[in-house]
Subunit: 94 residues, 7 copies
Amino acid sequence: MKLVPLGDKIVLKQLEAEETTKSGIVLPGQAKEKPQEAEVIAVGPGGIIDGKEVKMQVKEGDKVIYSKYAGTEVELEGEEYIIVKQNDILAIVE
Amino acid sequence: MKLVPLGDKIVLKQLEAEETTKSGIVLPGQAKEKPQEAEVIAVGPGGIIDGKEVKMQVKEGDKVIYSKYAGTEVELEGEEYIIVKQNDILAIVE
Amino acid sequence: MKLVPLGDKIVLKQLEAEETTKSGIVLPGQAKEKPQEAEVIAVGPGGIIDGKEVKMQVKEGDKVIYSKYAGTEVELEGEEYIIVKQNDILAIVE
Amino acid sequence: MKLVPLGDKIVLKQLEAEETTKSGIVLPGQAKEKPQEAEVIAVGPGGIIDGKEVKMQVKEGDKVIYSKYAGTEVELEGEEYIIVKQNDILAIVE
Amino acid sequence: MKLVPLGDKIVLKQLEAEETTKSGIVLPGQAKEKPQEAEVIAVGPGGIIDGKEVKMQVKEGDKVIYSKYAGTEVELEGEEYIIVKQNDILAIVE
Amino acid sequence: MKLVPLGDKIVLKQLEAEETTKSGIVLPGQAKEKPQEAEVIAVGPGGIIDGKEVKMQVKEGDKVIYSKYAGTEVELEGEEYIIVKQNDILAIVE
Amino acid sequence: MKLVPLGDKIVLKQLEAEETTKSGIVLPGQAKEKPQEAEVIAVGPGGIIDGKEVKMQVKEGDKVIYSKYAGTEVELEGEEYIIVKQNDILAIVE
């Protein structure tokens, strides 16, 4: 059982607090929009989204910084995921 | 008697609480936008919606995670349905 | 004397409470946006609305579920009507 | 002295309360947006409005139902008028 | 010293209260948006404004009814002017 | 050391109160949006801004009336500047 | 480990208070939108962003004035960065 995102949507899995500490990402407190590090689990096909061509620029396994503001949390088989639009991904951590 | 959605609209039937538990979807409390698992009952024809070409990407019988925020609940012959736009569907559960 | 809607506007006549009960539509209480069953009385010509081609997809006599949120109620010769945009019609009941 | 509307604007003259009663229009109380019956006094030329082609669909003398929400009231030589955009006209009463 | 408006902007000079009375314009009290009679002092060149072709439809010396809502008042050499966009002009008074 | 504006942005230097008085501009009190006279110090290159062609219509040395609402104040080497978009410039004072 | 911005996003590193003082930038207090001087650390590839061609106009090492309003702060390996869209960069300091 897996999540297959539509359009420009991307399924993320938030990195554990321990891992976050290892990677050195510290998130300053900001109530409205908390940037976070996550791993890309699944990527929508892109295509014409809202009348505009969208090419997907991240791939499964990428570590990314995303803006949590518009994301939606789901839990599938005991694992928590976040579904965001590609536009909510700010940068890839290489 | 059945619901025939217009445009990019989709008729969903929410999966029962029991079934939801079996599939392992747990919905974290979030007042404004509750993601939910549902089955696709009927799919609008797509086409030019608000001046933009929309291709329908889900089909009858799909299990989907949707964002309930803009959905509209109706009850027809004792069954409850939710009508959403395709854009409110986040992912297909396979 | 009749109402001739402009553009993508549609004149609806709400089905009576009794009839609503017969058709099995029950409307859950939701203050902001009450979906309702109605009969289509008159349909605007469509065409270029706000710079975008709109084709009308309902016809006189259709039973429809509409979102009352943006509708406007008028009463003509003792009969009450609701004028909505086609976009506010969610599904046809067949 | 007369009002010559620009673009997609239309000058209306509200029908008198007596006449409104005769035509059978009753306006349910709704603070924010009061639909009203009025006569079309002057029609703008249409054309490219905000980058979009607008064709005028009402003509002088039409009785119309309009949404008063965005209209502007002016009084010229002792007569009161309302200036609305064509988009605020819901239907013609024939 | 004079004001040369850019784009679709127009410099207006409000008609004096006396003159307003003579022309018969009475402005009903409406806190948010006060329609007013003014004379056109200078007209911007129009052209591509915000990606859309705008043709100027008023000329110097026109008496116009404008919606004061978005206008900006300036005073130059002891004279007060209002700068509005053409879209804020509702009608020409002929 | 100088400020080189990007896109449709323009660097302004507000005219001193004394000079403002000389030029006769008096600014009526309006909390939200204070029009002001300023000199153009540097002009962005224009070009495609937000998908739309923007041609710059002011030049270094122009005296302009701008709407301060969206401007950003910076101070460089003891001099204060305001950076605005061309769209926030209402008129040139000639 | 480094941040690779997507689309029109740019990674900035705020200049230290000491350096800010040296360059002479003083930031007047403005609660909602604090302009700031920063160095460009990494620049997204640009391309079609939200259906519109965006060309990147800053490069690594540029000193820029940005509008902090929509920026997102992250900390990677003990260093703090700000990720902004190119549209939030007002001017380059040369």
